[in-house]
């Protein structure tokens, strides 16, 4: 049948019936038929599709050179021009879970086809790859293999057919940290009234935007000797040299910029501008020291109160995803650590 879906399946040496830990270094083997769990997948596809190739790879072989072996797997998958790709299920096998996540993420990204795997929630592969792909929830062992395979097949077909609802609870995958627009049965205004009435009556209700409040950041220890401490100025107010030579983004930043203040007593409006897209910048444009107070800090330096780092760090804090903010902050921390800086003054808008 020409319209049968072509399916490729990735498994490890154990499920590929090559061997256990002793065979974990085995290289990639391709069989053009279903093997092990693939036999179950094939029968559950119930004629809609069939496994045209099984890729078997040793857990150590891929774990020791994950990116390169993943690339090799993707190249092989590509040759078979599949419609759907399955990997695992990996249960609680750590190296196998990471391998399944890695090849699924790469297949999805490079070939744009549905890529489905399943594993136990504590499998390290889940945490690494859940942001990239839907990973189905599986038990920690293979006792109920048939049930897991059935879920994988159903999910793969719903991805292929475009009927997926992206509902982690209903569809049994680990929440990935993303969202899509959804149309409800009831208007938002009425949902808010219902939620309030439930809350007042102590009935169960579910917030649609959960609040993350677990994060506790302890205050750092105070400086012991201010006069010997070097201070850096950091802003998310998007101050940069005129002409924005490095092309700092006005919003949705992914990086920060370092601008030298060597030999400068203050920041002049002739030399600096502000490219932030979310506030009235006129006061900053009139006097950039209002945003990055180098003039005041230099005076303190002259008076021997503290030392000043000869550059300021700048980014644009506007509609920046939290994930980007964390990455920018990590980079800033690294910069601060590598430049003998003792403290930072953060100025915002």
């Amino acid at each position: 049948m020409a319209d049968k879906l072509r399916v490729v399946h990735y498994i490890n040496q154990f499920f590929g019936q090559i061997g256990g830990e002793d065979a974990a270094n085995s290289e990639i083997i391709v069989e053009e038929k279903p093997i092990g769990p693939g036999i179950g997948i094939n029968s559950m596809l119930a004629g809609r599709g069939e496994i045209v190739a099984t890729i078997i790879c040793g857990d150590n072989y891929i774990a020791e050179d994950l990116d390169a072996v993943t690339e090799k797997v993707v190249e092989i998958v590509k040759q078979y021009e599949p419609d759907i790709f399955f990997a695992g299920p990996a249960f609680n096998a750590g190296r196998y879970g990471v391998a399944c996540g890695s090849v699924c993420a790469a297949v999805k990204k490079q070939l744009g086809i549905p890529a489905v795997t399943a594993m136990f929630e504590e499998n390290p592969g889940r945490e690494i790859y859940a942001p990239d792909i839907c990973i189905l929830k599986a038990a920690d062992n293979a006792r109920r293999m048939a049930v897991e395979l059935k879920k994988m097949v159903a999910f793969g077909l719903s991805l292929y057919d475009g009927t997926i609802e992206y509902d982690p609870e209903k569809e049994g995958f680990f929440e990935r940290g993303w969202m899509i627009l959804k149309r409800h049965e009831e208007r938002a205004s009425m949902r808010a009234i219902n939620m309030l009435m439930d809350k007042m009556a102590n009935r169960p209700y579910k917030t649609e935007i959960p609040m993350q409040i677990e994060e506790k950041i302890p205050a750092p220890a105070p400086l012991t000797n201010l006069a010997e401490s070097t201070i850096v100025l950091i802003t998310d107010g998007a101050l940069c040299p005129q002409g924005n030579p490095e092309g700092m983004k006005t919003s949705t930043s992914t990086q920060f910029h370092v601008y030298s203040t060597e030999g400068k007593d203050s920041l002049t409006k002739e030399e600096y501008t502000c490219v932030h897209g979310g506030f009235d910048t006129s006061y900053v444009l009139a006097d950039p020291n209002r945003l990055v107070p180098l003039d005041a800090l230099r005076k303190l330096e002259r008076d021997g109160v503290c030392k000043v780092h000869n550059a300021f760090l700048s980014t644009s804090g506007l509609t920046t995803p939290v994930t980007n903010s964390i990455n920018i902050a990590k980079g800033m921390i690294e910069y601060v650590r590598n430049h003998g800086i003792d403290a930072a003054i953060l100025t915002s808008t």
Binding site: P168, I180, E185, R187, A188, S189, K199, E208, P321
Partner: protein
């Protein structure tokens, strides 16, 4: 305080030599409209129709308003904008359904919204199901952008009043009555509505009786006043983060609370607040707004909305902490999840408080792509999702969903929310 809203349903709009309504058809004379809309800030005024099902695009939009006129001697329509000041919310108001006055703005706007009337778009916004009479007014030479926008804001409301006046003396299709005084309220949970406006700067504001709340303290307002044209949208510089006047006239929370008033809840009133720039002012206003909800309205539960972008969340957070923490008043909140354009589901809240535990999402980012259209109203290129002005006004257009009028409403006018995955 009893408000009667008398509605006439319009099914078709045609340009004619005279203006009148007959058999659900609104006949309008362009000359009449021009006379009503005329302002020295305009060099030229044109009028166009965009009808449901038509492949028509309205670009660079300002406000959308429903035709309405106050009936009775001495009554003011859109007080402070059209007529002299007077308090609305009681007496009778005549309104036209199925037709709206819409503005295309002939100066560049930083965050302009748009509209299409094709069938596919009607899935996304109720505005695509309405007939738009679009005012396309051009700024006169030497007229400032501000003077032009002010004139346009007033002209569209005058037109709304004029069109509704054509229905005077005609038989109504239906009538709505709004009053908070009714029997059987004893023992029902007392619910208030707290609306945080975003009056940030001139032309970036929702006006109350014609003026912004930029320096205002919170105030109690009767819900009927809002349903009767007390609030108008003047967010020309931030159009995509505000709801048009039409949505205030048909405020979904007020209408939904009214629909249950005396049945399973007791709607005790509305507090208006403004999201200020400065933290101390936010705290002052949040404290006062919460006190009004608690001490004046004596509410037991309150629904809170905001407008604008990120920082008004802070005002809602302060209010929630005081309402729940100090007064023990339960809260539910409406937020739009647009802080992270990558739709990161953990990056949508600026506030961290255990009290904000009942939040309704009014939607998140998505890109909507429209195929080419047959007709374009307006001349300023629409800003597409990539941030660039569209080169071919009638060509394929990809926009962020909140750019489409009525597709994303921070007041809760849509059925949208988000699915976390």
């Amino acid at each position: 305080m009893l408000l009667e809203r008398i509605h006439l349903v319009i099914e078709q709009v045609v340009f004619d030599s005279e203006s009148y309504i007959k058999d659900k058809v609104l006949h309008i004379s362009k000359q009449d409209l021009e006379n009503v809309a005329a302002d020295e800030a305009f060099s030229k005024i044109e009028f166009e129709l965009a009808c449901p099902g038509e492949k028509c695009r309205i670009v660079n939009m300002g406000d959308i308003v429903q035709p309405a006129i106050k009936l009775g001697e001495g009554e003011s329509t859109f007080p402070g904008v059209v007529d002299k000041l007077g308090i609305v919310g009681s007496g009778s108001t005549l309104m036209l359904d199925g037709v709206v006055i819409s503005e295309t703005v002939e100066v560049k706007l930083p965050l302009a919204s748009m509209m299409e009337t094709s069938e596919a778009v009607a899935e996304m916004t109720d505005f695509a199901k309405m007939i738009h009479i679009v005012i396309d007014a051009f700024p006169g030479e030497g007229v400032s952008k501000e003077s032009y926008m002010d004139a346009l804001h007033k002209a569209s409301k005058r037109l709304a009043k004029f069109l509704a006046s054509l229905a005077m003396g005609l038989e109504a299709d239906y009538t709505e009555n709004f009053t908070l005084e009714c029997d059987g309220l004893d023992g029902l949970p007392k619910i208030a509505y707290l609306a945080n406006l975003f009056c940030h700067a001139p032309y970036q504001e929702t006006t109350v009786y014609g003026g912004g709340m930029i320096d205002s303290l919170p105030t109690i307002i009767h819900p009927n006043e809002i349903l009767d044209g007390a609030l108008t949208n003047k967010n020309y510089n931030n159009s995509i983060n505000a709801d048009p006047t039409f949505v205030w006239q048909n405020h979904p929370i007020i209408l939904d609370l009214y629909s249950r008033h005396g049945k399973d809840l007791n709607f005790v009133g509305v507090v208006l607040n403004n999201a200020h720039h400065i933290v101390e002012t936010k705290q002052r206003n949040a404290s006062m707004a919460a006190a009004l909800v608690a001490k004046q309205l004596k509410a037991e539960g309150v629904i809170i909305t905001k407008e604008g972008g990120g920082h008004p969340q802070v005002d809602v957070g302060f209010e929630t902490d005081i309402l729940e923490g100090k007064y023990g008043i339960k809260t539910s909140i409406l937020f739009t999840e647009f802080l992270s354009p990558n739709n990161d589901s953990n990056g949508q809240l600026l506030i961290k408080t255990k009290h904000a535990d009942a939040i309704v999402s009014t939607g998140c980012f998505t890109i909507v792509e429209f195929p080419p259209v047959d007709k374009v109203i307006g001349h300023i290129p629409q800003i597409a999702a990539d941030g660039k002005p569209q080169s071919d006004l009638s060509g394929t257009l990809a926009i962020k969903n909140r750019t489409l009028q009525g597709c994303e409403s921070q007041l809760g006018w849509t059925y949208y929310g988000s699915q976390k995955f």
